[in-house]
């Protein structure tokens, strides 16, 4: 009697089935992949470029490039990680164009230790974000993360906001795992230090 046991097939990622369909000329499968990841790609591009128009263009360019290069996708990494790598490269290219003279890379401004050593040891208020309305809070968080060097905020965005693993982040950015870890630590500490201004228990109220 026939069984359905073969459907398991070592839990193949659903993206791979869609990719096979796209390779066979099925555009609706590609549309599905886009719907799945376009928001994240937009967010990553915006984190790097800090410019909405650029980020929108990067979404287009990333997916079109992915479509054109799909034959090169080996399936040994996640499709999303592969896509992120294209988006990061596109974003850095845009940044370079904008700054024309200045070289821009993931290594920019990472030498400085500034802000990576904690100095503010005041505890925060309980649920400090609730002391601000939605727009104020979003403004604070945006300004704060935008103050980080691109190499730091990209690692933080991929690892902590998007939830990629350290290894996937390293793969997407073409960095080593220790480099990702070091940047992540410094990004987290710098953000913490800067947010402390807004969230710390007011002086005089500390225990």
């Amino acid at each position: 009697m026939a069984t359905t046991a073969t459907t398991d097939e070592n839990a193949i990622h659903p993206d791979l089935a869609l990719i096979e369909k796209v390779k066979a000329g099925d555009l609706s499968a590609f549309e599905q992949l886009m719907r799945q990841y376009d928001r994240q790609i937009f967010r990553i591009a915006l984190h790097i470029t800090q410019n909405r128009e650029d980020a929108e263009d990067i979404v287009q360019d990333t997916f079109f490039k992915a479509f054109q290069k799909l034959a090169q996708f080996q399936g040994n990494s996640k499709f999303y990680t592969w896509l992120v790598r294209i988006a990061v490269n596109e974003s850095l290219m845009r940044l370079r164009k904008r700054k024309s003279q200045k070289t821009v890379s993931m290594d920019e401004d990472i030498q400085t230790e500034e802000g990576s050593i904690p100095r503010d040891f005041a505890d925060w208020m309980p649920n400090p974000e609730q002391n601000y309305n939605q727009a104020e809070l979003a403004g604070i968080l945006r300004r704060t993360i935008q103050g980080l060097p691109p190499g730091f905020r990209t690692v933080f965005a991929l690892r902590d906001i998007d939830g990629l693993s350290t290894e996937e982040t390293a793969q997407a950015l073409g960095l080593s795992v220790p480099a990702v870890k070091s940047r992540l630590l410094r990004a987290r500490l710098q953000l913490r230090e800067r947010l402390s201004r807004y969230f710390r228990v007011p002086t005089g109220e500390q225990a």
Partner: protein, 86 residues
């Protein structure tokens, strides 16, 4: 363990990648060092606050526009390929 060593292990601690013995050492350090205790807690909150806020949303109308633009380009690419093959 001193504060520098504590900080160096902070990322692994958050990711629960530290061996049990190191974890105990980190916890012992924190119990005696209010600065590191605060640093750990506020760093944890930093991550949580960023994770919970949808800061850079792609508005739905623009999203649809972008999807359509990409699909149009892909369709013409497919057509091109088919013409080349025929």
């Amino acid at each position: 363990m001193n504060c520098t060593e504590f900080l160096a292990n902070l990322t692994d601690y958050f990711d629960a990648r530290t061996a049990a013995s190191l974890r105990t050492e980190l916890q012992q350090h924190m119990a005696n060092c209010s600065h590191c205790y605060v640093t750990l807690n506020t760093t944890r909150q930093t991550i949580e606050i960023y994770r919970n806020e949808e800061l850079f949303e792609l508005p739905e109308p623009i999203r649809v526009q972008l999807q359509q633009a990409v699909l149009t380009k892909c369709a013409s690419k497919l057509k091109q390929k088919k013409t080349q093959h025929s």
